[in-house]
């Protein structure tokens, strides 16, 4: 019999912690074991009580100012010490950039395996956790499992739905383990503009690629986006090569799952496709009839986006008003 038992979830992002609790509950039920959330933060007592209503059996928390800058070493030392003591069989860690670094370092310390960025998690007949993830730049889906325990997996934001709060509350336990000070000194923190809506949550996205000639032409997409209550996105080359934007939609950027994704002048590089594959409906507008984006589109428009998009704006102005 294994000495490891229990499913743990941790993220420095509490929304992501809650999302992982829904999957964590399912895994714990299948393994007939306990689900615990680990919460490490500053001034967290009230939020812990709220978090206790999302399906966990236990919440282990530490309230300490050392966590204020969200640096990895305090989390890492807390998790290493807690996991060495309690021996969970599965640890799900939120796949933020901090979380990815944390998970890899935790796996190194606990001498165990780590599967990053899982979009599907299952328990197989042998009670092993199997995790699916995108590999080879979007060309493949790998199904992997850890041979060693704890089995560590990172889970990207919005992979699993947030569970509904329940009446049953988790057992909230304050813990005190030895913590390491951060090794890096944070000299400056610049928040990302708060006004910028999160494209990962958009229901409709209008996105431009290399077929867009000038940055000003994005005004056209913004007009269409305004009509549809949509957000505007772009591909990596427009951010990286042309420096028009600081971010992009794609495997290495923002992964999105809107109801509708309108790809304008996007050739359809596999990395971009991997970032939009969960969209419900994909429309592609491209001059090139052989553009590979058409292989991944529901509606194919072979045509000049500079003609099609303005026509679509006019049509929708009329349709949406009368409809």
């Amino acid at each position: 019999m294994s000495t490891f038992s229990g499913v743990w979830v941790f993220s420095e992002n509490l929304d992501l912690t809650v999302e992982m609790l829904s999957k964590g509950r399912e895994l714990a039920d299948k393994l007939q074991t306990e689900l615990s959330a680990i919460v490490l933060a500053q001034n967290i007592r009230e939020q812990v009580e709220d978090l206790a209503r999302y399906g966990a059996d236990k919440i282990y928390f530490m309230d300490n100012p050392i966590f204020k800058n969200l640096q990895v070493e305090p989390y890492l030392s807390a998790l290493t010490n807690l996991a060495s003591e309690h021996k969970p069989e599965i640890i799900l860690i939120g796949s933020t950039k901090r979380g990815k670094e944390l998970a890899a370092r935790l796996a190194a310390r606990l001498k165990t395996g780590l599967v990053p960025d899982a979009f599907r998690l299952e328990i197989d007949e042998e009670k092993r956790l199997t995790a699916s993830r995108i590999v080879f730049g979007g060309n493949g889906i790998a199904v992997e499992n850890c041979r060693t325990k704890p089995q560590i997996v990172t889970v990207p934001p919005r992979t699993f739905e947030k569970p509904k709060p329940s009446e049953i509350k988790a057992n909230v336990i304050e813990v005190d383990v030895k913590l390491e000070e951060p090794k890096a000194e944070v000299m400056e923190v610049k928040p990302v503009e708060a006004t910028k809506a999160r494209i990962e949550e958009a229901k409709v996205i209008v996105s431009g690629g290399r077929g867009v000639e000038k940055k000003e032409d994005f005004k056209m997409f913004e007009e269409l986006a305004n009509l549809l209550g949509a957000q505007v996105g772009n591909t990596r080359p427009l951010a990286e090569d042309r420096k028009w934007f600081s971010d992009w939609v794609g495997l290495s950027g923002k992964k999105v799952k809107p109801d509708l994704y309108i790809a304008c002048g996007i050739s359809g590089m596999i990395q971009h496709i991997a970032g939009i594959r969960d969209s419900k409906v994909i429309v592609a507008v491209n001059k090139d009839p052989d553009a590979s984006i058409f292989e991944s589109a529901d509606y194919i428009v072979v045509g000049d986006l500079y003609q099609v998009i303005p026509a679509l704006i006019e049509t929708l102005k009329y349709t949406l008003k009368s409809g």
Partner: protein, 262 residues
């Protein structure tokens, strides 16, 4: 003057992977390999530091097969020396094992000030080797750096995270992982290539590092299956005489699908 080690993966060129149409399995064994894109950024950054501060740049790779061409390219890009750990056991090595092998090779290389890795590899995109390596060697790490500067024994780095960007500093020796945004890697000239052919390229086996190959091949993670993602899209062509007709047909379809919100 800093001694910098750059870890390079001889990765599968993901743009050239073919799929077996019947089994949907990926034919990765046949795909060509190259220096992983982000590792070129790591190397470029190391060479720029050397150009500014002096010192030495060492390229290091662990691979099961002919990665010497990748290291020759690294030498042409400006590395002074290259070390290749080559062993058939590395064929099945996972990130934990590769990190362990790189760490042993780095110990054999002696003292260093900085290790630079790409943020992740283009083929497996797991981003684990940098952080694991820092843990094994017990040195500080800054991940996802997109701008760095050196001041004596201090590195200052800017990194973009989901909710903010940070400026952080650590004391060397340290490990950095860098993003594609940090620089544009140089393309070696013919002269560089000729010079590179005279530079030192050392090959080690696992036993040269005192590592038993069973320790490397077993792995902590098992890949059960890799297949091409299924694309189930309708692929309906919207055609019309004029852009207006196309727009109307498209709008109708989207309303029918219930994805226009209103």
């Amino acid at each position: 003057m800093p001694r910098i080690i750059v870890c390079i993966k001889y990765a599968i060129d993901v743009s050239q992977i073919k799929v077996d149409p019947t089994t949907r399995k990926l034919l990765t064994a046949d795909a060509p390999r190259k220096i992983s894109d982000f590792d070129k950024n790591a190397l470029e950054e190391a060479v720029r530091i050397k150009e500014k501060h002096g010192g030495e740049v060492i390229a290091l790779t662990a691979s099961s097969e002919g990665a010497s061409s990748a290291l020759r390219e690294a030498l042409a890009m400006g590395a002074d020396k290259a070390f290749l750990v080559q062993d058939p056991a590395l064929q099945t090595a996972d990130t934990a094992a590769v990190s362990y092998v790189l760490a042993e090779a780095i110990r054999k290389l002696g003292s260093f000030d900085l290790i630079i890795c790409g943020e992740a590899s283009i083929d497996s995109y797991s981003g684990q080797v940098g952080p694991r390596l820092a843990e094994i060697l017990g040195i500080p790490i800054i991940t996802y750096a997109h701008k760095i500067s050196l001041d004596e024994d201090i590195i200052v780095a800017e990194r973009s995270l989901e909710d903010c960007s940070e400026v952080v500093k650590v004391k060397m020796p340290a490990l950095l992982t860098v993003t594609k945004e940090i620089n544009v890697p140089r393309v070696p000239t013919l002269m560089d290539v000729i010079k590179a052919s005279k530079k030192e390229l050392v090959t080690w086996t696992l036993s040269d590092l005192g590592i038993q190959s069973e320790k490397v091949g077993a792995g902590t993670v098992q890949v059960l299956e890799v297949s091409a993602p299924k694309v189930e899209r309708k692929k309906i062509k919207i055609e019309g005489e004029t852009p207006k007709q196309i727009a109307e047909k498209l709008a109708e379809a989207l309303i029918r699908d219930g994805v226009l919100g209103g």
